[in-house]
């Protein structure tokens, strides 16, 4: 059964809307994270669906509530590693012995599916509110925040699984291997840009404009990996605990210069679930409530095949203004920023749009900031979650960590007191972001 996607009118995608009406009315409490793997080994118990079920059960347990209390479920169905839209692609043989089947055969394998989850989680017997937050879990966080704030659900799960099948999903296979190009990617694929190519191009423009260099990214990449390796739930800490060095980064293989291999994230299998509820109900939850002060959206205004620096700066500037207006706070109130890094080279666009740790600068300061102490011990923690760069590709480590930081239980807890933080994803011109707070708004 198709479920609604988050309505556009819930988005805060323009300035002048004032304080967010849901400010102080919704909190996050329980968090559940699945184990990770590099690729699916085709066992039912390690499928993306199974990991999502596991994450949901852990989130409910973490919140210290009964599954019957859950009355809402918001899910992001897609991964960048390819959602199946083919209703004729069968699941692996024997799949039906392990899971009840939803109408879409790839549900739980390459596609998140609310019906499939509910069929296979009989304990979620009271879910009445169901919604999809497409493309990115950030959208689902926003949808759930609005839904709780609007009274459509009292205790809502936000969930998202990532899959990565055996083999390579876009390099030299499928459409990339053809001698023709069709569909919307034909304007870019014939030029052979890898996924990081667009970001590298705008980063190059940034460096040229502000007189910066790719080498200045090294401390950000190393610090992010360090932060990620503190997280026992992250892919790298579980499977590749070796630390990257500045030399590794500076001598790395180019993919699309100025993006090297460590400017790209690693696709993995993983799932996250978070419990959203009202402050009143959160009193009975085991974990400290984390308030959502505001959220904001940007969507591409790009008129060409690739965006420009000007467009990304305009877009991230607007995001900063929308978020702060809705939350009633400003850049100086942020104790950390956990914006997306799923290409490392665009993190600074998000950061500068928020004016995080700016000392009067508007733009072009982030790479200098990266060369200062941006560790969790320092005065300006940058990406304390470690993000995708430190944990593997999910687009949600940053949100997860924002909640944990403000609950005081992040594995990479910042040393200064964490009271307000921000996280958002994915792209600088296509982003959903939230400002989180350890305390209710005054």
């Amino acid at each position: 059964m198709p479920h609604p996607v988050v309505p556009r009118e819930w988005f805060r995608n323009k300035e002048g809307l004032g304080l967010w009406e849901g400010r102080g009315k919704v909190v996050a409490t329980g968090v559940g994270t699945s184990p990770t793997a590099r690729r699916w080994d085709e066992k039912p118990e390690t499928s993306m669906g199974a990991l999502t079920i596991l994450a949901i059960r852990k989130a409910i347990a973490d919140a210290g509530i009964a599954p019957e209390e859950i009355d809402g479920l918001v899910l992001t169905p897609e991964s960048t590693t390819g959602i199946s839209k083919d209703p004729n692609t069968p699941p692996p043989p024997g799949w039906e012995k392990h899971f009840k089947m939803a109408s879409f055969p790839q549900a739980g394998i390459t596609r998140g599916d609310i019906d499939w989850l509910l069929l296979n989680m009989p304990e979620l017997k009271n879910v009445k509110f169901m919604m999809n937050g497409p493309i990115c879990m950030s959208v689902s966080f926003v949808a759930a925040a609005e839904a709780v704030a609007r009274g459509l659900t009292k205790t809502c799960l936000v969930a998202r699984g990532w899959h990565n099948l055996a083999g390579r999903y876009y390099v030299g296979v499928g459409a990339s291997a053809l001698n023709t190009a069709s569909g919307r990617f034909k304007y870019s694929s014939i030029w052979g840009l890898p996924a990081c190519g667009t970001t590298a191009m705008v980063f190059e423009e940034y460096c040229r404009k502000y007189g910066k260099s790719h080498d200045q990214m090294a401390n950000f990449v190393v610090t992010s990996r360090r932060n990620g390796l503190m997280n026992p739930d992250g892919y790298y800490s579980q499977h590749r605990p070796e630390m990257i060095t500045v030399e590794d980064y500076l001598t790395a293989r180019w993919i699309a210069k100025p993006a090297n291999i460590y400017d790209n994230d690693l696709p993995i299998m993983a799932a996250l679930a978070v419990v959203f509820t009202t402050p009143e109900r959160a009193r009975d939850h085991k974990q400290k409530p984390v308030y959502i002060l505001s959220h904001g959206q940007t969507r591409p205004e790009s008129m060409g095949v690739v965006p420009t620096l000007e467009q990304w700066e305009r877009s991230t500037d607007r995001m900063g203004r929308i978020l702060y207006e809705g939350a009633g706070v400003g850049p100086d109130d942020l104790d950390f920023e956990n914006m997306y890094d799923g290409f490392t080279l665009f993190h600074q666009f998000h950061l500068e749009g928020l004016r995080y740790a700016a000392r009067g600068e508007k733009r072009g300061y982030a790479l200098d900031l990266y060369e200062t102490d941006i560790s969790i011990e320092g005065p300006n923690p940058v990406s304390p979650s470690g993000g995708n760069n430190g944990n593997g590709r999910t687009r949600w480590w940053n949100h997860r960590d924002s909640i944990l930081q403000l609950q005081g239980r992040s594995p990479s807890q910042i040393r200064k007191k964490a009271e307000i933080g921000v996280s958002g994803a994915p792209m600088p011109d296509s982003c959903d972001a939230l400002i989180w707070s350890a305390k209710p708004p005054v």
């Binding site: 590099r38 690729r39 055996a166 083999g167 390099v171 030299g172 499977h239 590749r240 070796e242 990257i244 060095t245 590794d248 001598t251 790395a252 293989r253 180019w254 291999i261």
Partner: protein, 122 residues
């Protein structure tokens, strides 16, 4: 007269991610037979060295994937070969004058035939 074999790791070696068909024993055998062996992979060089140490194979080099030119400059050999599972492995190898074998070709240890060629030369 020396022969040099460079092994990619992920998708090529049995301990790679994903695992490939080339076994540690094949590398050990090559080393014991006098080949110059090492790895040329996207994994951190320090990690590569650790892995070979853990298998007790004293490899001659452990470098990033695009460093084949350095390997060639460092070691004098009659023949150079890189073994990998991606087009980029092949391209990087051929650009610097290495012979290239795909991972699935390498499981037959075709380098052993070079020893026969060497015997013929003698």
């Amino acid at each position: 007269m020396a022969f040099l074999i460079s092994f990619d790791i992920d998708g090529t070696m049995e301990f790679g991610d994903p695992p490939g068909g080339v076994t540690v024993e094949m590398v050990r055998r090559a080393k014991e037979l006098g080949f110059i062996v090492g790895s040329c992979s996207d994994r951190f060089p320090s990690w590569q060295k650790q892995v070979w140490d853990s298998h007790g194979i004293p490899v001659d080099f452990w470098v990033a994937k695009h460093m084949l030119p350095d390997v060639k400059a460092r070691f004098q050999a009659e023949r150079y070969v890189h073994i990998g599972d991606r087009d980029i492995d092949r391209q990087l190898a051929e650009q610097v004058g290495f012979h290239f074998w795909w991972d699935y070709e390498a499981v037959a240890e075709p380098w052993l035939a070079w020893l026969a060629w060497l015997d013929d030369q003698r």
